[in-house]
Amino acid sequence: MSAAASIPEAAASLDRDVARLTDLLSKFTAYIGKRLPADVSHKLGELRSQEVNFLAKEVYESMRQNQEAADRLDRPSCQDTGVIQYFLTAGAKFPLLGELEQILRDATLNATKDGPLRHNAVETFEEKNTGTNTGSRIPWLDWEIVPGDDGVTIDVYMAGGGCTLPGAAKVLMPGQGYEGVAEFVFDVITSRGVNACPPLLVGVGVSTSAETAARLSKKAILRPVGSHHPNEKAALMEELLAEGLNELGLGPQGLTGNASVMGVNIESSARHPSTIGVAVSTGCWAHRRGRIRINADLSHEVISHPGFHA
């Protein structure tokens, strides 16, 4: 603030910044429901062109027509626009750090009206749909603070019911080893994964307890399709699991086909010597997530969707 700026002027400038960022994130949130991120579209195109099974080809063709219609009619490509989750990797020096929670709540409200998005917040115990897509702790915010940074990277994720249903976590004993992790992943995918709109992006958390593994499994599906864990053994496991799951041949919608998954992403942490926490989150083929980076001066860069313009 310059020496000449009065307190009311500073407050007005803050209000303007908040309004500007709210507007940007409202539009971005609504947009995510309508168009798939570039990595997912690309992978689906590849799987479609390789498919040979009759029913699977039929379904891939419906998927292609659907995305084309969603784009042309400017509508949410899947009716289940999910519970809105925001994953923030926020610089401690980001100027609107304290305002972000309210900004994202308002962005959800606006996107719900303008998208439109489906009303997906049912207040638990009251058992009433709030009709606004917001409710207690919804939109869900997940924070990571980066000490020296002055920008923020936000991942928007639409957590649909179908792709959330297979979500599962378990704590294994070390005697079960990574073999137990692989078995758990296969069990989840061959039981509930079949109904979760394959080809799936499978996120696996390998960690110390149920909730740490669960959080990492969700972070894993925010990573691009085709990206790899930095550890060589973990990257090998990603590859082996993806190959193995594809060999099952779930095909789109579980109707059998060449592939089951778009990929497997693993995220991990160190663990207690007595436990291996493992969790699976699945992204459906209509994997609606978006990543945007906001700089300290509120300029932005859209990482997931080159076509987005505010």
Binding site: N66, C78, R118, C197, L248, L250, L255
Partner: protein, 202 residues
């Protein structure tokens, strides 16, 4: 040749259908999911729509209310049918519904219900909600609106609605259960091969 079912659907329209066949629907398609099933079966409430010979869609759409009070179908794709498994057999018997559309498979009870009452379950490709919305000509009614947008019973007039892939036929064949048995049989040798390479704890 493209096969189209028209509501009201009769037993003989369904008898020749086999699991894996692709059909389309013209007529009335009513959305009906978790809470509507629960209200009829567990709470004993009368369903506000007559489904005899009818078709239901396990779906919770996005609907826009227009200024003139009419509704516009924005986006309507299937939800996971398996969630309705605990109710569906009784639901079929009580309502006389003939076609159940959703995504993923359903279980043994629904299979029994389909055989006993000559009904079928079909899969509309999940996530293809705008494609589906373009097949809805008109929303003719909205019942149990107190349930909120996804759970309301939306009464839709549809034309050439599909592709609908028959997953349970009237003879009791269950495509997704058959597929799952294949997936499970393949699982063991694949896991043995993977596990030999991930014995990281030594």
């Amino acid at each position: 040749m493209k096969k189209t079912l028209t509501t009201p659907i009769k037993d003989e329209d369904l008898e020749s259908l086999e699991a894996g066949d692709v059909v389309y629907l013209t007529g009335t398609l009513v959305t009906c999911r978790d809470v509507a099933h629960r209200r009829l079966i567990e709470l004993g409430r009368e369903l506000p729509v007559d489904l005899k010979g009818g078709a239901i869609f396990h779906a919770g759409p996005i609907v826009r209310e227009k200024p003139d009070g009419n509704y516009e179908m924005v986006s309507i794709g299937p939800t996971t049918s398996m969630r309705m498994e605990k109710f569906e057999k009784d639901f079929i018997r009580r309502t006389g519904v003939k076609l159940i559309v959703g995504k993923g498979g359903m279980g043994a009870e629904t299979q029994e219900g389909c055989v006993e009452n000559k009904a079928v379950h079909a899969i509309f490709p999940g996530g293809c909600a705008v494609l589906a919305a373009t097949k809805v000509e008109k929303i003719e009614g909205a019942e149990w609106k107190d349930l909120g947008m996804p759970e309301t019973l939306w009464v839709n007039k549809v034309k050439d609605f599909g592709p609908l892939i028959i997953s349970i036929d009237t003879k009791g064949r269950n495509l997704i259960e058959e597929n799952k048995a294949v997936f499970n049989a393949k699982k063991k040798p694949i896991l043995e091969r993977i596990n030999a390479r991930i014995r990281f704890i030594k």
